[in-house]
């Protein structure tokens, strides 16, 4: 590079030197000059090696990722102008309507048929806050009963803004912190961490579901990131609080619960037994749950005090009568128990089917592909089978993390467990794929995370996940944002179908092994072919869902691979195999090479 002309710019002080590159954003071409390994790194090139502070790069990155989110929000949302039931947008709006207008005791009892509230209390409080603000802007959007199915342009802007604001208050700071902790753990320089953070925040599936389809997943995912960040920072008590927040916002965070438990329990027994820590974790967790329920209970006591009756059509939750002891309606704690039981009844609807719609998990794939029809079986049997299989799939990662509670293993264990749940458990939605994706994507910020091998796997999971939610996005008229955002992300991180650079690197130089390469490229080819077929060929008349079924089956197979890969990396990283003498220690292998 030619010497740059003298400029008047003078850095005020020398910063301490950053750790050298170790994350694979840079490659050397033939003439020994550095080159960005993939386009996203090129965008940060001007900041490389200069003293550009994080105070400039970070706000600019955040503003840009905001723009992509906001632009996606200009497209239709789920259920836009689709009577009678509309969609998730209406559900969220309706929760605001009911929390703002009804007494607290009615929240979990109100009309189940029209998008009854079936999320944990934190979502209810969140809806209440937003509903209150929205009421100030325009009360007509949240009038009880009258506002159902409203789809005004102003309401759309307001609701889209609430998603972005919630995300920027919770998910984005958590992502920044989590990446920082990972970077500190793996000694990666700041420049590369900005790239990893941008890749994480540009994840197409999250943007499409939250800002296109319309949901508030990033709040729950943000709490999860905060949990991981606290674990990495060595603050287990904070991680309990954040994780209760995640669970309290969306019950789907249960996908992560076994990992969290395994890690926290593991840190209490190794390297040595630490009873105070165990007690602390237990107390903080219980206290967090108490705080989570406190507003609901306070509201209940206020309503009891005012003698507000339950809605006339309210049926008492079955849970209440199945309690081992008899409680009288006169008891002081009766209304509180009723509320709790009803909330739990709503949040965990055991009566629903094994899977809903078409989701790329094991059950749906087995059923719809015609391999084995499942509706002949008793639903109790099926749910027991699901439980058994889920337990089988999550036991290995949780056991490893429990025995070896190392910080490096946390993302892998989170991802493996979540994949296990997604593939095998009961009542999974296609949108839940965001849960395993998140811990897998933060791998980009780990050592070598942006080298070809890890980047290829992370990208594979992300792109496949987007592809499996595509049938859902078609319903929401989000085809174009899907192609734009997914294509852009694939291009940014240098992956198929846009670039096959990551697959040109031989296995010995940090690339994938030949088998993985073939599997990946084959899957990508199938995905592209599927899009061509889906767009131009009508499915046969007796099988109208054929394309969706193909999508589900390929998706489930690909996610299975992701599960296995995460599990393998976890096993490898834990060092259990070498301890058991199955493989040689890394150090020994290295020594021999030298």
């Amino acid at each position: 590079m030619a010497p740059s002309p003298p400029t008047a710019y003078r850095p005020r002080k020398k910063r301490k030197p950053e750790p050298s590159t170790s994350n694979g954003t840079v490659t050397l071409d033939g003439s020994k000059t550095e080159q960005p390994a993939f386009p996203l790194a090129a965008f940060f090139w001007p900041a490389k090696g200069t003293n550009t502070t994080q105070w400039i790069i970070l706000p600019l990155t955040l503003m840009l990722v905001f723009l992509f989110r906001w632009f996606t929000g200009m497209w239709p949302y789920s259920g836009h102008q689709k009577p009678p039931m509309h969609g998730d947008f209406e559900a969220q709006r309706h929760w605001m309507e009911l929390t703002v207008n009804l007494p607290v005791t009615h929240w979990y009892f109100h009309d189940l048929e029209w998008w009854g509230l079936d999320y944990p209390p934190l979502t209810a409080y969140h809806s209440w806050v937003i509903g209150r603000i929205g009421w100030l802007v325009e009360p007509e959007w949240f009038r009880l009963y009258l506002s159902r199915g409203t789809d005004e342009a102003g309401l759309k802007v307001f609701m889209r803004a609430t998603v972005v604001v919630s995300e920027f208050l919770i998910y984005v700071p958590a992502a920044v912190l989590c990446v920082r902790q990972l970077v500190r753990l793996h000694s990666i320089n700041t420049w590369e961490s900005s790239i990893a953070l941008t890749a994480l925040l540009m994840q197409p599936a999250t943007i499409l579901i939250d800002h296109g389809h319309f949901q508030y997943n990033t709040v729950m995912l943000g709490f999860t990131l905060a949990t991981i960040a606290s674990m990495l920072a060595g603050r287990p008590l904070w991680s309990c609080i954040f994780f209760v927040g995640a669970l309290g916002f969306k019950q789907m965070a249960l996908f992560y619960a076994p990992t969290v438990a395994a890690y926290l329990a593991g840190t209490c027994i190794s390297p040595r037994l630490d009873i105070p820590r165990l007690l602390g974790i237990a107390i903080v967790t219980l206290a967090s749950f108490a705080v989570l329920l406190l507003p609901l209970m306070l509201g209940t006591s206020y309503d009891t005090y005012r003698n507000v009756p339950l809605p006339s059509d309210a049926t008492l939750p079955a849970l209440l009568s199945s309690l081992p002891w008899q409680i009288s309606e006169k008891a002081w704690h009766y209304p509180y128990l009723t509320q709790l039981a009803q909330a739990i009844h709503r949040i965990f609807p055991f009566a629903r089917g094994l899977f809903e719609d078409k989701v790329a998990n094991l059950w749906c794939a087995v059923h719809t592909s015609g391999l084995h029809k499942l509706h002949n079986y008793d639903s109790a049997l099926l749910s027991r089978a699901a439980l058994g299989l889920t337990l089988t799939s999550i036991t290995p990662p949780c056991a490893i993390l429990f025995l070896r509670p190392r910080k490096e293993l946390i993302p892998y264990a989170f991802a493996t467990t979540a994949w296990g749940f997604f593939l095998c458990s009961y009542q999974v939605h296609e949108k839940n794929v965001l849960l395993p994706l998140l811990p897998m994507t933060i791998l980009l910020a780990t050592e070598g995370g942006m080298k070809a091998a890890t980047r290829a796997w992370v990208g594979f999971a992300n792109l496949l996940a987007c592809w499996t939610v595509f049938p859902l996005l078609i319903k929401d008229q989000l085809r174009i944002p899907y192609f734009v955002l997914t294509g852009l992300w694939a291009w940014l991180v240098g992956l198929p179908p846009v670039s096959i650079g990551a697959y040109a690197i031989p296995g010995e130089e940090g690339g994938l092994s030949l088998g993985s390469k073939l599997l990946h490229l084959g899957t990508y080819a199938a995905m592209v072919a599927w899009h061509v077929v889906e767009a131009w060929v009508e499915p046969p008349e007796n099988k109208p869902d054929l394309w969706v079924v193909a999508n589900v089956c390929l998706g489930a197979a690909g996610f299975g691979l992701c599960y296995l890969w995460c599990l393998w990396r976890l096993v490898e990283g834990s060092g259990l195999l070498s301890d058991l003498g199955l493989t040689k220690r890394k150090e020994e292998a290295l020594k021999r090479k030298q």
Partner: protein
């Protein structure tokens, strides 16, 4: 020399992604204007194009643009035939929207190519700077707001302009540059404002001898004359044949419009109108006569004749002479020192003059100044000093174009990101100047940029909270007066730089 990262193409890809995501965004009546032109050129014979008036948005661009619309309409029929009916006013099926938006993105490739040539043709010592300038034009918030939200084809047109400017860099390209510019004039006649600079430069550098102005190179004169005549003939020949030139010209130059456009463009007349408004309140104390009829005219924002309450009225002729007077010094300097840098500087100054003093100037015309200036902004720190207030004021003045809630964060954040990235990058890349800078100017521009923040907060939030829907003109007036100060300030700064170097 290593390549510059990110490359032009690498920047174009995410920019295109953003632009595609903007398809459902707000669009102005210009969308319907262009849809109507597609319909006119597709379904009517050539001789009716400039007479058709079913829609109020009649064809008022020169013939090449009409031919361009005809070409697009050949593809449009595969997207949605409905948009090609003259009668189907305000037709906006999603196919139509997507098609028209896509054509804006597609034709912008001309700009990408022109900028690529610009970087390629720069000397190695200033490649880095040229690359940064090219990126700043490619990612310009002005083009994003005007083309991809408001809806116009400026990316395409400015691409041709940049192409013509870049061609003029080498003596062998001068003829082509002149012909390309002639074609550009036949696409959109707003570029007539730049024509004096082209005329002087081509005259001096191409038609007259390099040593002496008395050695006329007749062969070159003939080549250039024939080239321009062929372009003009291709454009207007058919209309001359049909004997419609008068009608065509009456469509192209409607002089019945007022001095200021509905939103005041940030020019001298905006400051003049603002002073007039202020004088209405001061007049009783100064014992000046007030024209009562005019008190309510400018702020009502109607496109019509503007009359002033206190200050003397302005006629089109006056604006014309003032524009010319402001252009002549720069043209004279270009005539005696016909270098490419002086040519681009003179283009910029011609654009400044016509923007500041012209009749019925649109705020969108500020791109006419910003884009040529960007090519020069990194010449040295003195140029950058003059460019900075223009970059801020020029883009802030475009904000009133978009007034819907959904687009508000788009225009503000995109512009803030662009300003932060490029002002920082330019600051690092601009080489120190040989002459000392005027220190005061820097302080002024910093203060000026800082004022933008409270101004925007007031205009977008505080005003509505305090006054509601009342005094709607106030924010607009503040923005245009604020921007006018910046544009005039950067003009004066640039004049100083140009005439002292």
């Amino acid at each position: 020399m290593a390549d510059q990262y990110p490359t032009l193409l690498q920047c174009a890809i995410p920019a295109t992604a953003l632009k595609v995501l903007l398809w459902p965004a707000y669009r102005s009546t210009d969308f319907e204007v262009h849809r109507n032109w597609l319909a006119i050129t597709h379904s009517l014979p050539l001789r009716e194009w400039y007479y058709e008036k079913t829609s109020e948005w009649t064809l008022d661009y020169p013939p090449f643009f009409a031919y361009f619309e005809w070409l697009l309409s050949q593809v449009a029929q595969f997207a949605d035939r409905g948009m090609l009916e003259v009668q189907s006013l305000n037709h906006d099926s999603w196919q139509t929207v997507h098609f028209q938006r896509a054509t804006v993105i597609g034709t912008e490739l001309v700009l990408l190519y022109a900028l690529h040539l610009f970087v390629k043709s720069s000397p190695p010592s200033s490649k880095k700077q040229a690359h940064a300038a090219a990126l700043s034009i490619l990612l310009s918030p002005g083009l994003l707001i005007i083309d991809h939200i408001h809806f116009q084809y400026n990316g395409f047109l400015y691409g041709i302009l940049v192409l013509s400017i870049v061609l003029a860099r080498k003596p062998s390209g001068l003829l082509a540059s002149g012909v390309v510019f002639a074609a550009l004039l036949c696409l959109k006649h707003i570029y007539l404002y730049l024509a004096p600079a082209y005329f002087v430069y081509l005259l001096r550098a191409y038609c007259l001898g390099p040593r002496s102005i008395f050695k006329i190179r007749f062969a070159n004169c003939i080549k250039l004359g024939v080239g321009i005549a062929v372009v003009a003939g291709l454009a207007f020949g058919a209309f001359v044949y049909y004997d419609q030139m008068q009608q065509v010209f009456s469509r192209l130059f409607p002089f019945s419009r007022g001095l200021c456009h509905a939103y005041w463009a940030p020019n001298v007349w905006a400051m003049y109108s603002f002073s007039d408004r202020v004088l209405i309140y001061a007049a009783p104390f100064l014992k000046l006569p007030v024209n009562a009829d005019a008190v309510n005219s400018v702020t009502r924002g109607l496109v019509g004749d503007t009359s002033f309450a206190v200050l003397p009225d302005i006629s089109p002729r006056m604006t014309f002479f003032m524009t010319l007077a402001a252009q002549i010094p720069a043209l004279a300097k270009l005539f005696f020192r016909p270098t490419w840098d002086n040519f681009v500087a003179t283009l910029t100054l011609c654009a400044y003059a016509s923007f500041l003093f012209g009749w019925h100037v649109h705020e969108k015309a500020i791109l006419l100044v910003i884009i040529p200036f960007s090519l020069l902004a990194l010449k040295d720190r003195r140029h950058l000093g003059a460019f900075r207030p223009l970059a801020v004021s020029g883009h802030v003045s475009l904000f009133p174009l978009l007034f819907t809630a959904m687009e508000f964060p788009v225009k503000v954040l995109y512009t803030v990101v662009w300003l932060a990235v490029f002002l920082l990058a330019f600051d690092r890349l601009a080489p120190p100047s040989e002459k000392p800078r005027v220190f005061l100017l820097d302080r002024f521009s910093l203060l000026y940029i800082a004022v933008a923040v409270p101004l925007l907060v007031y205009c977008s939030l505080v005003h509505q909270l305090v006054f509601g829907a009342k005094y709607e003109f106030l924010p607009l007036m503040f923005i245009s007066t604020y921007s006018a100060v910046g544009v005039v300030g950067s003009w004066i700064g640039f004049l100083v730089v140009f005439f002292t170097s």
